[in-house]
């Protein structure tokens, strides 16, 4: 066979639109997923069962069902139960964010638990409240330990964004499919999509290495 990227280059505009769509859903899910994950993780860490039990149910539910099924469910089933339509972006964002929240909650919980109790003692002996100790003393140290795991989550979120194509949200894979069907050249179209993903993700990973090095300056 012969590689022919002509139709890919002819449709650069479509790929740019797709890339913008991917970045948009990535940003939404990264912020929603990781911040909701922190709340759920604090609930999992809590000894108060009114916080612990709902957080545990949430984590188990979203960890043990496929994201793709969640996205499809939010898109097709939710509007039947609730009196409003839901956009492809909203459905996909919900599915990916909630799933990421469940996984990152366990990262946060583990990170917080890994901090020695002496740090709590030191903070409390100064007269800090629980929230002050968590924000000033515990979380900054825990985040440093969690950074590699959270970076993996971010990469996972970026790649999960392709699942939004299942509800016809315009992102890179969706546009790749479109280009592939124009001249029936799936190899070139999907290769282009893969390359674009790599170009986005590789610097992201390098940036996280840089962050890890910076955070280690107190050692």
């Amino acid at each position: 066979m012969r590689w022919d990227f002509a139709s890919v280059f002819d449709n650069t505009d479509a790929l740019l639109v797709g890339a913008a769509g991917t970045l948009r859903i990535f940003a939404i899910c990264l912020v929603l997923g990781l911040s909701l994950g922190l709340l759920v993780g604090l609930g999992r860490y809590s000894r108060n069962r009114w916080l612990h039990i709902p957080a545990t149910v949430f984590v188990e539910f979203f960890r043990n069902t496929p994201v793709l099924v969640q996205i499809l469910w939010f898109y097709f089933a939710l509007p039947i139960l609730l009196p409003f339509q839901i956009s492809p972006l909203a459905a996909a964002s919900l599915g990916i964010s909630l799933n990421s929240a469940a996984f990152s909650a366990e990262i946060y919980r583990g990170g917080i638990q890994s901090i020695e109790t002496g740090q709590w003692d030191g903070a409390r002996a100064l007269g800090m409240r629980w929230g002050q100790a968590m924000r000033r003393i515990i979380l900054p140290q825990a985040l440093k330990r969690m950074l590699p795991a959270l970076t993996n989550r971010a990469i996972e979120i970026f790649k999960m964004s392709t699942l939004a194509s299942a509800v016809a949200y315009v992102e890179l894979l969706q546009q790749g499919k479109l280009i592939a069907s124009l001249n029936y050249n799936p190899i070139e179209a999907y290769t282009a999509v893969a390359v674009i993903f790599f170009v986005f993700l590789w610097p992201l990973v390098q940036f996280s290495y840089f962050l890890e090095r910076r955070l280690r300056r107190d050692e």
Binding site: G118, Q119, D121, G122, A123, R124, A125, L126, G127, M128, R129, W130, Q132, R136, I137, P140, Q141, K144, R217, D218, E219
Partner: protein, 255 residues
């Protein structure tokens, strides 16, 4: 004048009674050294006094004010705000220092002033520098704990406690985690604080230091005060058999 009054203090971990009814009155300016074998409840007693551990039974009064209130089941309940006030008035220094590793020495000393007191940064920084200078570490202000020796870490921890202007200081085995050659510098700082007339309670194994610095010695055994008195009384002429045995085992290899 009494600053702290403890009545019938008990504490139980699981099925073990760690403290079995401690009665103790601390006057302002007193320096009390608490001695006892491991497991006698020394650290637990100290940790109950600033509520790092919740007392099981009994009452603690600070400056004449009994803390907490009687709950329905007879157990005392304590409000978070109340305990936060107490901890600011009763400072604590730990065996393992418990410095915050992600902050520099001065960051550690400023932290309570900034976060708990809400003091503006320039003011907190000036105060922290003063406290670091007091423990002889002015030039280590920008150093992270990982680059400090054990003795320096403990001195930063003392400066951190002092910055909050506590009316009373609790030292929980402040030199037990240190290499022998670093013990002296920490004891010198504590001695200087004693000479200022500060109220302090000190759990320690350094009998010689306790003899020199304390105004009263308390010997704890099985979660109760077994013997107490002046350093001369308890350390030189102990009346009780267990106190004698404890002192003998600590002086076994002295020469």
């Amino acid at each position: 004048m009494t600053i702290l009054k403890v009545t019938g203090l008990t504490k139980r971990f699981g099925t073990t009674d760690v403290l079995r009814g401690i009665d103790l009155e601390v006057a302002r300016g007193e320096r009390i050294a608490i001695l006892g074998a491991s497991g006698s409840g020394k650290s637990t007693l100290l940790r109950c006094l600033n509520f790092m551990e919740r007392p099981g039974g009994g009452t603690i009064a600070l400056d004449g004010q009994v803390l907490g209130r009687e709950g329905k089941s007879g157990e005392r309940t304590y409000r978070e705000n109340e305990l936060i006030q107490v901890r600011q008035r009763v400072g604590m220094v730990f065996q393992q220092f418990n410095l915050f590793p992600h902050m520099t020495a001065i960051g550690n000393v400023m932290e309570g002033l900034r976060t708990v007191r809400g003091m503006p940064k320039p003011e907190a920084e000036a105060r922290a520098r003063k406290e670091l200078a007091r423990v002889g570490l002015a030039e280590k202000a920008e150093t992270y704990p990982a680059h400090l020796s054990g003795g320096q870490k403990q001195r930063v921890a003392i400066a951190r406690a002092l910055a909050m202007d506590p009316e009373m200081l609790l030292f929980d085995e402040p030199t037990s985690a240190l290499d022998p050659e670093l013990v002296g510098e920490v004891l010198a700082v504590i001695l200087a604080l004693a000479e200022e007339g500060r109220t302090m309670m000190l759990v320690t194994h350094e009998l010689g230091f306790a003899y020199h610095v304390a105004t009263r010695i308390i010997f704890l055994a099985d979660g109760a005060i077994h013997e107490q008195g002046s350093p001369d009384e308890v350390l030189k002429n102990p009346k009780k058999e267990r106190t004698r045995a404890f002192l003998a085992s600590h002086k076994q290899f002295s020469f």
